[in-house]
Point group: C2
Chain length 330, copies 2
Amino acid sequence: MTDRGPDERIVLAIHGGAGVIARETLPADVEAAVRRDLADALTAGGQALLRPGGTSLDGVEQAVRVLEDSPVFNAGRGSVFTRERTIELDAAIMCGQTLRAGALAGVTSLKNPISAARTVMERCEHVLMIGAAADRWCAEHGAEVVPPEYFHTPNRLLELEEKLLAAAKTGSEIEPRTSSIAALTQDHRFGTVGAVALDRAGNLAAGTSTGGRSMKRSGRVGDSPLIGAGTYADNASCAISATGDGEFFIRVCCARTIAALVEYQGLSLQRAGEEVLFRKIQPLGGAGGVIILNRRGEAAFPFSTLGMYRGFLTADGRIDVQIYREDSVP
Amino acid sequence: MTDRGPDERIVLAIHGGAGVIARETLPADVEAAVRRDLADALTAGGQALLRPGGTSLDGVEQAVRVLEDSPVFNAGRGSVFTRERTIELDAAIMCGQTLRAGALAGVTSLKNPISAARTVMERCEHVLMIGAAADRWCAEHGAEVVPPEYFHTPNRLLELEEKLLAAAKTGSEIEPRTSSIAALTQDHRFGTVGAVALDRAGNLAAGTSTGGRSMKRSGRVGDSPLIGAGTYADNASCAISATGDGEFFIRVCCARTIAALVEYQGLSLQRAGEEVLFRKIQPLGGAGGVIILNRRGEAAFPFSTLGMYRGFLTADGRIDVQIYREDSVP
């Protein structure tokens, strides 16, 4: 990873989840929808970011909104169901210049949790708000509210019913912590979404949004809305958004640890990400991926799964979308 | 801080909150109650820790339980009220050997959230559970359930009513983020509780429990239950429990950053804690304190407030309780 010229700098990077994504098994129509929606997110985020006065927070928010609105990703519309057949959404956004952050966990009525998290960041005296009280506060502060059915998609419900049936047959606890890699291979083909951005003023931002882990218990919160776990941005190091098996990402404080390895150990973004994914999370039994961006416009997209939906936008407007491991490095 | 002999090693350290605590204004009866309950917590935690087979998790859990049961600290019984006159409790516990963790946020019915958090760590496939679903899961797994009134104390209710009245008079938003130091001086005289411990096997653990910030909105979660913010333990570096103005501790990922400074920069525990408290949190406008313990039995108790309720137990059974800044360093 070398210094990029001003035009080749990456200014926006996104992910749409990581998992066992192989060319031979991903249906062509799904791949086409994923590629289209990732490109649309980069376009929308890029427009917000690159317009006069646009900030990295604008780029992150607008890119993530597109992915939340798309039914193919596990965030906003199309989120996975809990075991109790509810949909509970988590999101966070963070500003690398000020270290201000806003986060929501367990909300059920907000069409775009990433935008609501930004409102928390900008207008609430608290950083993290949870549950029905968070839904209410956001609604009172302008968030778009939708009925629970808005988030439902037939594929997700079918997925849940099949798993509940399989679990009932074996009589086993569902997804014990130790079998997370196996679970991830089946559950996270379409995952958590996130974005990291760099604006003209040189400020970083990061944001993540998710429906959480498929078959999670009601009340479970993963890494996405937790500052330092699934989401972190600090101009002193880098901006990070993670996807994968949240419990493990929480335990190693994934995003903050990556930033610390960059800031305190001088590791490259790629090496810092790989250190956490392969030497901290994988030994515990977890898998996933991260996107990382620094103020020089360098980005890294390491993942320990077979594939990760991801893409980036350069300062000169080039968009690239990648899915498989064998796709070229940016 | 030098290597301690085997008998002088600190094996358990606790805190009961940080704030403007000055000798001339702390009522004698309050000071006596605080000192008695801190000593009781060290005794109970020490018994659990030092008995045959006792673990650092046992020591942390039992010490914190005593502080939760005491009405003079802001955790369990005696917790502060939200603006909506509810009591919403947060807690987390973490094992430094395995990096396993359990955490609860926004629970309302569990007598000892620290013990329930440990049950989450040991028996739930998730790390962080929130709200009523978390109360239910813990009750189903043996947690002691109490009615909401159990947590109420007259002093806390009086405190709330006075503040609501003052806020109504000025017509101002209550405790805007920028005036946190001022708020802290009035609100956190009795604060969050926490413990860090080191067992004979050389394993660290950390735990934190709180009623949160006085006058918080319902649904607000602070740093205490967030792994890497208010609570962290890793045998590779140290165990940490924080107290103070949670929003700022979340934004700098306080506990994980301290551990990173120790692990990656080689800072002493004291310097790592001061770096985060004085060079990261204080410039943002926040104040508080942390307790830090490593595998050599070295401990540090840095704080940026006037005082911090704190104490420690050595391997040879010596107990020391401290309140003011001028109290001797261990």
